[in-house]
């Protein structure tokens, strides 16, 4: 352990001296539009490591690809509810994140989370929430409850947009119905199914793309949304003279957090570790947040963030709002969710 921390000190010192420490390559596989080019450039300059960036569109794609044996990536960025799957399936390596020098910068709240209790595999990255966003100028009032989304009033019928995959929407239903997540009780799941089926005639689209497009051009009045994406949407809407608000319904919003992990098949493990340490620096994470539009877990990163993002209501959760973190369901609960979803969409 001692040797390790000594090594890390050396690494940090080398960085401080501004010398190119390790040369070589690093293949990052991340969500699209989620990796700050400015941050990557800074990393390349400081370390001399050449970064190749590839992107994917969803947790499901990433998992299916890793399960099928894809190789060549040194860093992947799954969400918290998928992290235990990668660990259980033996798809990622142990890295002992807690021993990295910059780990001390991680806010207390994001240390040793339940999905990686000993912080052995994942470096905390962006976090955010899923809820609904709406057009107050068209809706005419404040959205207070998921009820207004699941059982819409006359004037918004046919102008509701829902996520394409069941993960968040089923959890939203659970929140609204006051049930627990990953429910294995058929009677309760039946209620979820009934709720979603009753909502269906009023839904214009089940889609996780282009929510901002639909909201801003007025196709949709209420839409499932992610906070960072809604933040970008609000800025765009303001440009076009319209309003777009990310709602914090009284039932709570669903939290998520992404983590950096190193796949078993990685070839540039040391460089990946250098990157992990790099991103836990307040300035670097701040630059990264500016690009992605999501908050991060690093103490003091706010100082490096744009003012519009630092004060964004989408990022700063109001005191009276609750955030509930979802988790990966076991096979039985997952299959209930899938059956409900298939029944809704068939």
């Amino acid at each position: 352990m001692k040797i390790k921390s000594m090594l890390w000190t050396t690494v940090t010192l080398t960085f401080a001296a501004g010398m190119a420490f390790a040369e070589g390559k690093l293949n990052i596989y991340n969500w699209t539009d989620y990796t700050s080019p400015e941050m990557i450039e800074k990393f390349e300059k400081e370390t001399g490591i050449e970064v190749t960036l590839d992107t994917y569109d969803s947790n499901e794609t990433l998992l299916a690809k890793m399960q099928a044996g894809a190789t060549g990536y040194d860093i992947i960025v799954p969400s918290h509810n998928f992290i235990p799957i990668y660990i259980a399936e033996g798809l990622v390596q142990e890295v002992d994140v807690a021993a990295m020098p910059n780990f001390q910068n991680v806010k207390e709240r994001w240390r040793n989370p339940e999905w990686d209790p000993e912080q052995k595999y994942s470096v905390p990255f962006h976090w955010g929430s899923a809820s609904v966003a709406y057009r107050p100028d068209l809706y005419g009032k404040k959205l207070e409850s998921y009820g207004e989304f699941f059982e819409p009033a006359e004037e918004v019928r046919g102008r509701i947009s829902v996520f394409k995959t069941p993960e968040e929407i089923v959890n939203h239903a659970h929140l609204y119905l006051g049930q627990k997540f990953c429910n294995e009780d058929p009677a309760e799941m039946q209620k979820v199914q009934d709720l979603l089926l009753a909502q269906k005639p009023y839904v214009m689209a089940y889609s996780s793309e282009g929510m901002n497009d639909r909201l801003i051009n007025g196709d949709a009045i209420i839409s499932n949304h992610w906070n960072g994406y809604a933040y970008k949407g609000r800025l765009l809407a303001e440009e076009a003279g319209k309003e777009l608000v990310y709602a914090y319904p009284k039932e709570g919003v669903i939290g998520w957090a992404d983590g950096l992990m190193i796949p078993k098949s990685a070839e540039n493990v040391e460089n990946a570790k250098i990157f992990m340490n790099f991103i836990m620096d307040p300035e670097n994470m701040g630059i990264q947040s500016n690009f992605a539009g999501y908050g991060g877990p690093i103490e003091g990163q706010e100082a490096f963030m744009d003012e519009s993002l630092r004060n964004a209501p989408e990022i700063n959760i109001p005191d009276d709002a609750t955030v509930v973190f979802s988790f990966a369901c076991n096979a039985d609960a997952q299959s209930l969710i899938d059956r409900v979803w298939t029944n809704v969409l068939r």
């Binding site: 689209a205 889609s207 196709d219 997952q334 899938d338 059956r339 068939r346």
Partner: protein, 301 residues
């Protein structure tokens, strides 16, 4: 054909070799892997356990109620039926538009023919997703089609023509995406068609329709069938158009398979649906084989 050289068999094998080898290794083996997956147990987070199980196929026909009892269920059959119906509609639309266009092109002078073919292909050098997105701008609320109605006041701000997120939008999208696959093969077979035969036929048959159905259709049959296949099969498994233009409100075969491999993480069930899809297509192909055998006997005349 009788005076083939002796080494014809060898030459045939050599000519068929590369195509068969590539597809045999990189397609047949993977498909066999998938077929075997459909008889295995699903692992909770994707992948399979190597334990035999017929669950995937049971699931297709029986619904496991939320309380785990089995009941015969038409759910997935409805999805299959809906997909087949939509693919057929798209195929017919492509044929109705594609045939006259291919006919028109085939009658142009050579240089113009090539120009037309290029003109038809150019739009497809852009990305399918972006092209599909362009249709959202055209069909959507405040889209290119609705704007004139709004300007003239025929459509109140609150109203919409409702073109987007409908089966209509899916059909437009499918037709748009796959129509070159109809035009090109029909054109290829019409282009070599001996028009003097058509002229002669026109003398023989009294009506234009008879000339058309007795001469032109049989002579261009291989192209028509190839075109129908090329449109029908990808339409059956399509998921971009149902998703983006249809609003993903009803599952199609393509979206269902996609869903099983990604979100539901049930690879065996996904493979089983794929096998069913494959069976459908094989039946369709056998009809094709029969039809093309029929057209061959016609060519003898």
């Amino acid at each position: 054909m009788a005076n083939l050289p002796e080494n014809a068999a060898l030459r045939r094998t050599l000519a068929l070799g590369p195509a068969l080898a590539i597809i045999g290794i990189f397609m047949l083996i993977p498909v066999i892997i998938m077929a075997s997956y459909s008889f295995l147990e699903a692992k909770s987070f994707g992948g399979v356990n190597w334990v035999f199980s017929g669950d995937a196929y049971v699931q297709l026909f029986y619904e496991r109620m939320l309380d785990d009892s089995l009941r015969l269920s038409p759910g997935y059959l409805i999805i299959i039926g809906r997909s087949v119906a939509l693919a057929l509609v798209a195929m017919v639309c492509c044929l109705l538009v594609g045939f006259p266009v291919a006919w028109f092109i085939a009658r142009q002078p050579l240089r113009q023919r090539n120009m037309w073919i290029l003109l038809i292909t150019i739009p497809f050098w852009t990305n399918q997703l972006v092209r599909t997105f362009a249709w959202i701008i055209i069909l959507g609320r405040n889209g290119v089609i609705e704007v004139p109605f709004r300007w003239t006041g025929l459509l109140a701000p609150e109203q919409t023509l409702g073109l987007m997120y409908s089966n209509f939008a899916i059909t437009v999208g499918l037709t748009y995406t796959f129509i070159p696959l109809m035009v090109l093969p029909i054109y290829a077979s019409l282009e070599k068609l001996d028009f003097s035969l058509v002229e002669a036929g026109a003398d023989l048959y009294s009506s234009r329709w008879e000339t058309f159905s007795n001469i032109i259709i049989p002579l261009s049959k291989p192209g028509i069938i190839a075109g129908c296949l090329l449109v029908f099969i990808p339409s059956l498994g399509a998921f971009i158009q149902p998703d983006l233009l249809g609003g993903g409100k009803n599952l199609m075969l393509g979206t269902l398979v996609q869903f099983q491999f990604s979100t539901a993480r049930n690879w065996p069930f996904g493979s089983a649906i794929a096998m069913i899809l494959l069976a459908f297509v094989v039946v369709f192909l056998m009809l094709y084989a029969r039809a093309s055998r029929g057209s061959k006997s016609l060519e003898v005349h």
